[in-house]
Symmetry: C2
Subunit: 318 residues, 2 copies
Amino acid sequence: MPEPMTIGVDIGGTKVAAGLVDASGEITRKSRVPMIAQDTAEAALECVKAAIDEIFAAVPEARAAVKGIGICSPGPLDPFRGVILNPPNLTCWRNFPLAAEIERTFGVPARVDNDANAAGLAEAIWGSGVGHTNVFFTIVGTGIGNGIVFDKKIYYGRTGSAGEGGHVTINYEGPVCGCGKHGCIEAYASGPNIAKRAQAKLRAGAKSRILALAGSVEAVRTEHVGEAFGEGDAVAGEVLAETARLLTIWLGSIVDLLEPDVMVMGGGVAQLMSSFFAKMSADLPTWAINKRAGEIPLVLARYGNEAGIAGAAALLKQ
Amino acid sequence: MPEPMTIGVDIGGTKVAAGLVDASGEITRKSRVPMIAQDTAEAALECVKAAIDEIFAAVPEARAAVKGIGICSPGPLDPFRGVILNPPNLTCWRNFPLAAEIERTFGVPARVDNDANAAGLAEAIWGSGVGHTNVFFTIVGTGIGNGIVFDKKIYYGRTGSAGEGGHVTINYEGPVCGCGKHGCIEAYASGPNIAKRAQAKLRAGAKSRILALAGSVEAVRTEHVGEAFGEGDAVAGEVLAETARLLTIWLGSIVDLLEPDVMVMGGGVAQLMSSFFAKMSADLPTWAINKRAGEIPLVLARYGNEAGIAGAAALLKQ
């Protein structure tokens, strides 16, 4: 009998990526198809099916081995029923029963969730959270999201909307977040907002390599800040040190509320911030009444770009 | 066979209260002894035993019916081992195995926890949280603490220190909290800090009944604010409306992170704030990206002054 496998599918704005994932969380085969035909719900579904079919075509023995298919999809969605509700970036799916459609087509159980929940679960089961009961996963990229995983199970909350810790406000008089609230950690420390804080420094006259790398103040992205930081640029160092401080303030509140066993950080900005993790851990007791806050490991996620695929596959392991 | 009962013991700064609690959470008999002899660990323990003995003396059939004894104690403490670590207000107990001592003396299982965890559990099992899976309990009094109860079990975190949501900061540039952090919700909305904000208004020249009730600005306590509010005083109304707003901001973050099924509020200040609960629920979606945040019931706790006794008894029901 072949080793049981799962397929993880990651639906992005422009492509669908799928992967065959083994029992240790290794992605042994990948596929990728463009997410083009989005006029109708069926056309978008065909893209998802195509990515899965490509895996089966490349690895025929996967037909028998695959015991389930997990999908990371743009939300909002209902993870309990596997229904995509009304995603702003995928308007053709409205109350679309994605899990049921995939189950019907491929004859195996299917699960649907958002990227932060799924990636957090993958870290808890296969990644940097292994060996810990209460895993607090943070994805820092265009936004900030969380996967709260207790005992290898995603904590969902009342309607499946828990884990939006990116919108915990650290300053109710702070900058307006994309969500409309003030001072959410996302409004300070997401990729675009790190870039925005760098831009503000440049506009205020700071001399930095960031400007040369980006070409113009308007063109500054987090990548330029990261690159300048790698070259020893002081302004970039300041921007990231501030980001680390703001994330520490936020994590201090999380620790006082939830005292997780481990804090795992993933997403595009996490790698960049990881050089500050030791300092953040050292400073954490300043921003937590929990004097042992510094003992809680703060670690980089195992999965980088493949977090969506691994996370989707992990959904079948709950 | 008699109905199984539990005894709940609430250790305060100046007294020990105990109660006989039936299977529905009703407190059928109470005792109260002064907490005087605190020179030695043994003397303090004797006060606890005396409160329990008084129950057994008054209700002889309780000897057979009582299946366990729970205790709310000043912390920090280790709820897993039932050990009191080093309470600042009860210095004679250092690494004191309170649960083991009580078990040895009375021959039934004993559990120890802090007041917020215990009271939250009592609300989940017997009180305003009944029928809900994820209960977020807040005690607002001298401080602000939480009991996070999932599936009728206290969520403890790594070392038993979870549930300190009173120290979630809502403004990292805000007033210094007793804990040393800035802008904790406790630094705004605990009883003493509500009084402090009222005092600031009076010092700034506000005319209010609060002053006449308290006698002097320095003597203002939350009770005076509450009394003036009851008499229709505008300044008291402002202070409490601001408190409600700050609590709403804080609850918005809690909802985005945890999306509980119910939010229960207890403690000395909760009753006073309860006239703002409807407004807080209505405003909650402004401070949560969860647009259904307003659907989550925000309710007053069942237990008032007896929360410690009921909570302690509930510890045996986990």
